[in-house]
Symmetry: C2
Subunit: 365 residues, 2 copies
């Protein structure tokens, strides 16, 4: 097992990464200063796979455990579901010293975190992510949310967990598409922060796709280290943290025009990253060779680098409605080189349109 | 005008207290670093009295202003109302740089603050409290919330405003009962923190009840200073901040058994403070004379010191369901003397019952 510390003063916490950790969750929780009640928020599928092991582990060391299950999918990350979860927290008798444990992927983690942040103005929160995307990204850093008809994650908070437990064994039950979607965020960390890590991904993509424990553990550890380093410098996204949105500006727009039905988040980000690479090249920042390296790595991980059936105009319109837009200004995160990015706010609309169009027809290789 | 600083590092802010401040709100907001859009959250009555003046002041300096109105009363401080307000924030086109301005009493401030805290994970928040209770208490310190069927303020957050503007002129349109309810919290500040302030209240209660500007401005300023001092030391109620709940343990229980229909919050707190004074005397902390001083001041402000028709057993049961109960332990804030309190967690159930019973039959004087 490896441990990554997220350094946020009084809100600091550990991420534990390793094999076969679920059976020891109870022990880990006894090391925190928390009350005796735990409400696990999960979904049917994850509960059937890992619920019993987690419950047993908690009960064994004396916790009182209740389980609340939500539907599977983004559409259940809603205020309506939140209302039901508040009700269940009341029924479970949670008080301020109690804990909410998210056992699942990003949807479960985001809404469970929102409940933990707002129930009684905040109870203890434990993240046990069961998808790669959640392990390397959404479970770390404290962004919690529910969706609103007008936008994904439109209602949310910054609320740090007390502990994150990333058990790499659970990835074996993950659908291949889900695994690949998580890898988009992993590529992102290489581009924004760490060229050496990017090279590690290039050299080890086959071992990663077949879930070799050594490579997967390293990948999760380094991803969490990078995210932790960024979040420690800017917890509430006033500046630096925005670089974690590399590939997300166009990615979110693609998700929005397809009503969050067609692309997995990571797939949108994959296309968005190539768009960002092309934009960076167009303004003279990124070498053509580094655009191609990104494209190749995205492709090697089995992720899309182009789209066909959607309207370029609609995508560009959706860009202006993103919640990262402030007083009408669209921000892009663009790379100077692999391992270093900057935030840029004054890109020409025509250029954005041109590059989006390029992504639509595909790129000659 | 006087200014009180709430010292919370990067989240520090000013409270402006004085006469005729509403007309300058626009100017005050230009001194903050905020975007051009402001959504005012208010209710019909307050809007009809002060809405136009605030809107004009904001528009004059170039802000785009929209108004969202909620119903009057605790029952509108709900997730349902929150959902409507999120919708209106979307329609108003608020982005992360935009501001939500609460124009009203505690209900408006609490729910507007909850929206500000959670819309896009937090937008700018301005408090313009129009009741005494909101000016001396709820608008300062960052507690925001909505109610749940199982408890008042059960869903909430800690979220600091960027500015609080307390215009004492607005108190002239306040119902007498509302004014008195606010004075309960003012007495509280004297008991928990400042014997000199308590004496000021004893000496000036008549001038305060007739709203003499000099006395009222001093009262609001000192109340805010005390609250600011406490909150600065313990923003998220891990320890010291709990002393602000003086009188609230029994007070909340009284509100709960009467379904929040019978007592104004301050009336519950008034009875609860006398209960706390009696408890403190019973365990040998507070002199009988200081119990009587509290009782007399509460009475001089026209607030209740006893109840008649409610069940002592039900009240004592309600105590165990309060959200301040942790792992089954009920905490009381009790005074050692006027100006100094401590948190106590191991009071005997019988003693609590006995004192509650005393409040029911009334006290021989």
């Amino acid at each position: 097992m490896e441990e990554v510390k997220v350094d946020l003063g009084v809100r600091s916490y550990q991420i534990k990464v390793g094999e076969d950790l679920l059976k020891d969750i109870g022990t880990y929780l006894t090391e925190l200063e928390i009350g005796s009640k735990v409400l696990i928020i999960t979904n049917d599928l994850v509960d059937s796979l890992y619920g019993q092991e987690v419950k047993d582990s908690l009960k064994e060391v004396g916790f009182t455990v209740e389980v609340a299950k939500i539907g599977d999918g983004e559409k259940y990350k809603s205020l309506e579901t939140a209302q039901q979860l508040y009700d269940q927290a009341v029924v479970a008798g949670l008080d301020r010293s109690s804990s909410i444990l998210a056992l699942g992927g990003g949807v479960v983690g985001d809404i469970a975190g929102f409940i933990a942040a707002t129930y009684m103005r905040g109870v203890n929160f434990i993240q046990v992510p069961t998808t790669l995307l959640a392990q390397v990204d959404s479970s770390v850093g404290g962004k919690v949310a529910v969706n609103h008809a007008a936008g994904k994650n439109l209602i949310g908070d910054f609320y740090q967990p007390q502990l994150v437990v990333a058990d790499i064994n659970v990835l074996s039950t993950l659908e291949e598409k889900e695994l690949k979607a998580g890898l988009a965020e992993v590529i992102k960390y290489g581009v924004i922060w760490d060229e050496e890590f990017f090279t590690f991904l290039e050299d080890n993509y086959k071992e990663i796709l077949t879930l070799e424990p050594q490579q997967v553990q390293h990948l999760i550890k380094v991803s969490c280290q990078i995210k932790a380093a960024v979040v420690a410098q800017d917890e509430t996204e006033r500046g630096l943290r925005a670089i974690l949105n590399y590939g997300h500006t166009l990615g979110h727009a693609l998700e929005a025009v397809t009503d969050y039905q067609y692309y997995r988040h990571g797939e949108g980000v994959a296309i968005g990253m190539l768009g960002a690479a092309k934009l960076a090249h167009q303004i003279g920042w990124l070498d053509k060779a580094d655009v191609i390296r990104q494209q190749r790595l995205i492709e090697n991980f089995g992720l899309p680098t182009s789209f066909s059936q959607w309207s370029v105009d609609e995508i560009c319109q959706a860009l202006t409605k993103d919640k990262k837009v402030e007083d009408g200004v669209i921000r892009f995160i663009l790379a100077k080189e692999i391992g270093e990015v900057e935030i840029i706010a004054d890109l020409e609309e025509n250029l954005i349109k041109e590059v989006t169009q390029e992504l639509k027809v595909g790129d000659e290789k």
